[in-house]
């Protein structure tokens, strides 16, 4: 290779040396606290002197998650409108600053920081995937602000700066397993998307199965968004388990249930228990492919309570009669009301006051009364198993005796001792 060094190499050396010197000089004069030292606390810039107070609504309005997360945005807006109509919080009207998380964890982190530091919001509502929550968590901790996260998730987390208003595993997955055992299921086949929620859920299911004498006949993962299911569905059919536990997310469900119906499997021979299929998703999958199958949630549009009737009516009046309400929407709706109630109780918007006042704050929500647990920042929730009917809605076939206390680290379950890791 006739590549010889050229005379201008000296210039490069000079340029690099100058850059290094400049960067070095600035960097050394600008060194902050080191590990172990007390960090200068970031001052909160929340302005509560006026007639309004700002909150953030951070959901994916573009990208693959937009179809799900825009419904949460609508539910947040509805709850804010209700609080405002009732006189606001501490006499102040709530103003929403909306941002798009764009289905990307880094964008969620960026927008969360923008909401806290530039818009000075008192709290942020939103997030859906665990990846987005994990990306936002350090932002809320470092800036000492509050996130209300409205989606059921894999548990094993309890941040001071997050309120988890969706179900943790002992309020969704364990009741679903209890129900299956009650109906005589002795063997299971596990199908899930390849990310943290299905993997953690299946770890819990395996531990549960071992303790309860259930046989797990297979455990398969597909890449998120995958639509190729012929192999897996044939394996499921061959395994002939009593039931399938489905932790697939998003589009994969459409392909899975079509293939499932295609090979002649029905809800009668081998029911599928799903934890990520709500009212919104049933339409996309096609009711004919999924009728009679089971789902585990805390809320369905069909829940019979005065609070839910009011919620569904208000939502349809605002967004159209063809819209449906689902579990994450209800949890998001609850979180705004819970935040408002906590602020009223604390008499302050300051983060430490809200944290201190949170324990025991309750809201008569569409799913029933929910109460905040001040220790782990989760809420009590009623577990419900639903069956998908021909009209595309889910109807409760079983529900827990009242709200279940949140136990994100599964400390109350002996068989889960190997799973739980306390922070």
């Amino acid at each position: 290779m006739p590549l010889r060094s050229k005379p201008k190499a000296r210039d490069l050396a000079r340029a690099l040396a100058a850059t290094a010197a400049l960067a070095g000089l600035v960097a050394t004069t600008a060194c902050g606290s080191r590990a172990g030292e007390e960090t200068a606390a970031t001052e909160s810039c929340v302005d509560t002197s006026g007639d309004t107070v700002k909150v953030g609504s951070l959901n994916s309005l573009s990208g693959t998650m937009a179809i799900s997360e825009t419904t949460v945005r609508d539910a947040i807006a509805l709850a804010v409108a209700e609080v405002n109509a009732a006189g606001g919080v501490q006499g102040k009207q709530i103003e929403i600053v909306a941002e798009d998380g764009a289905s990307e964890p880094t964008v969620f982190a960026e927008k969360a920081e923008k909401l806290i530091r530039e818009d000075c919001v008192a709290a942020v509502f939103g997030g859906w995937t665990s990846a987005s929550r994990k990306a936002m968590l350090p932002v809320f901790e470092d800036n000492d602000s509050l996130l209300y996260y409205p989606v059921q998730y894999e548990g094993l987390e309890a941040s001071e700066n997050i309120f988890y208003t969706g179900a943790t595993t002992n309020q969704q997955i364990i009741p679903a397993l209890d129900y299956l055992v009650e109906t005589g299921v002795e063997s299971l086949y596990l199908v899930g998307s390849d990310y943290v929620f299905p993997r953690t859920a299946n770890a819990i299911i395996n531990a549960y199965a071992e303790a309860h004498g259930i046989e797990v006949l297979g455990e398969d993962y597909v890449t998120l968004g995958s639509t190729e299911f012929s192999t897996i569905v044939n394996q499921v059919k061959a395994a002939d388990a009593d039931a399938v536990f489905n932790t697939l997310n998003g589009d994969s469900n459409v392909a899975f249930f079509r293939e499932y119906a295609n090979v002649g499997l029905t809800a009668e021979d081998m029911p599928v228990m799903s934890v990520s299929i709500a009212e919104e998703e049933v339409g996309g999958i096609g009711v004919e492919n999924i009728e009679g199958q089971l789902a585990a949630w805390n809320y369905y549009q069909t829940v019979d309570s005065p609070a839910n009737t009011a919620f569904v009516e208000a939502f349809k009046a605002e967004y159209g009669a063809d819209r449906v309400t689902s579990d994450p929407m209800e949890a998001a709706y609850n979180s705004v009301h819970l935040w408002a109630a906590t602020v009223e109780k604390a008499g302050s918007f300051a983060v430490e006051d809200v944290q201190a006042a949170a324990d025991g704050v309750s809201f008569d929500s569409p799913e029933g009364t929910v109460v905040i647990d001040g220790d782990n920042h989760h809420v009590t929730k009623t577990a419900r198993i639903g069956r998908i009917d021909a009209d595309g809605l889910l109807y409760t076939v079983w529900e827990s005796d009242g709200p279940i206390e949140p136990d994100p680290f599964l400390e109350g379950y002996d068989w889960a001792a190997d799973l739980s890791v306390t922070e």
Binding site: L16, L61, E99, R117, A135, P138
Partner: protein, 375 residues
């Protein structure tokens, strides 16, 4: 080989570089000084801590863009998979940060927090060396470069080029992201996040966040200086010659594959360093930041800015990232349409990118004077 100017091939339509102030030696130094004043002086003065952090993140994209400008703009290799190298640098740095974090909280050899969540009780053997900062930095520099050299040799020696190379590099980015999603010991789909310390400094401290910005700015200036040197060297001429007429360069006795491998490896190194700086600034790295879509976004910035010029890729990367943030803040529900329109406008009106604005304006002026003279 005689030192004949290999790039000046007869019949090759390449307009000579316009001799402007900035292509002189004094001009180059002035340009660097101006950039240094803006990056190290004005930006920290004028921007809030949050905006400065965003700029630091965008500077990382610009560092990747400089490498792409070299490989694609000068070398004609449409590298649609720079996310692979960006991801390597980022994950290597993230592994060190997680190790340091675990060590600080639970003593040497502790298991990082996310592994406990995934049920991994023993530290995987390949993680252990990343407790050392020196080893981590060495790996960030060596591993992606070595991988690019091996891959480049395998591809370019077989004379794979054009669309085939582009498809191959893009497939690589997709495969790499899928591979990472399956690795629970690398955080899987969630990736690695929640870093608290950067080589002993607390990341939550705003002063240290500013320090990270300065590091990103310094790296960008250094990378531009290296790219400038490569462009002006005889190697740079050779690279352009390979881009424009690979066969002829080969007939002159050069090994075109080797010429390409060097540019490809340098671009990989830049991307890796950018990834390593990106991680402490943004605080998370996941497969979503390194797959096909982010790789295309890298290319998009370069195309918008002007791939063949030196500062074009930098300007383009910064402009695309800034536009994305600004538009999405302004129109959270409809910004993707605005962004699409912007891309169409630039590509339709300025095919040479933002860097060609001056040229287009000049041509327009000349045309008008000609028309006026004729009238």
């Amino acid at each position: 080989m005689s030192p004949a100017p290999a790039a000046r091939l007869p019949g090759q339509e390449r307009p000579p570089m316009p001799r402007t102030f900035f292509s002189t030696r004094a001009g180059t130094w002035t340009g660097f000084a101006a950039a240094a004043v803006v990056l190290f002086g004005l930006a920290p003065l004028l921007l809030t801590g949050f905006r400065l952090g965003l700029l630091a993140q965008f500077l990382c994209y610009a560092i990747v863009a400089v490498g792409i400008g070299l490989a694609w703009g000068r070398g004609g290799m449409l590298t649609l998979g720079q996310g692979v190298f960006f991801g390597m640098g980022a994950y290597l740095m993230a592994m060190h940060l997680k190790m340091a974090d675990a060590e600080f909280r639970n003593g040497p050899g502790a298991v990082p927090d996310f592994m406990e969540l995934a049920g991994i009780r023993e530290l995987p053997a390949y993680w252990a060396p990343f407790a050392s900062p020196a080893f981590t930095i060495a790996m960030i520099l060596v591993l992606p470069t070595a991988f690019a050299i091996l891959l480049g040799l395998a591809v370019f020696k077989r004379r794979v080029k054009g669309a085939y190379f582009a498809i191959l590099s893009q497939a690589l980015a997709g495969a790499f992201a899928i591979l990472l999603i399956g690795q629970q010991s690398l955080g899987g789909f969630n990736g690695l996040s929640r870093f608290r310390y950067f080589f002993g400094f607390t990341l939550a401290d705003p002063v240290n966040q500013q320090m990270l910005y300065f590091i990103a700015a310094g790296v960008l200036l250094a990378v531009v200086a290296i790219a400038l040197q490569l462009r002006r060297s005889r190697y740079g001429e050779l690279l352009v010659a390979v881009r424009d007429a690979e066969e002829r360069v080969r007939f002159l006795g050069y090994d075109a594959a080797n010429v390409k491998v060097v540019a490809y490896a340098v671009a990989a190194l830049f991307a890796s360093v950018a990834g390593a700086v990106f991680v402490p600034i943004v605080g998370i790295i996941s497969p979503a930041s390194i797959g096909i879509v982010p790789s295309i976004m890298f290319i998009l910035g370069v195309a918008i800015g002007g791939r063949a010029s030196l500062v074009g890729p930098v300007v383009g990367a910064l402009a695309v990232a800034w536009a994305q943030t600004a538009l999405s803040e302004q129109f959270p529900s409809a910004w993707t349409y605005a962004q699409g329109l912007l891309f169409i406008a630039v590509i339709a009106l300025l095919p040479g990118g933002i860097a060609s604005v001056a040229g287009v304006a000049k041509r327009f002026q000349t045309k008008r004077t000609t028309v006026e003279a004729a009238a």
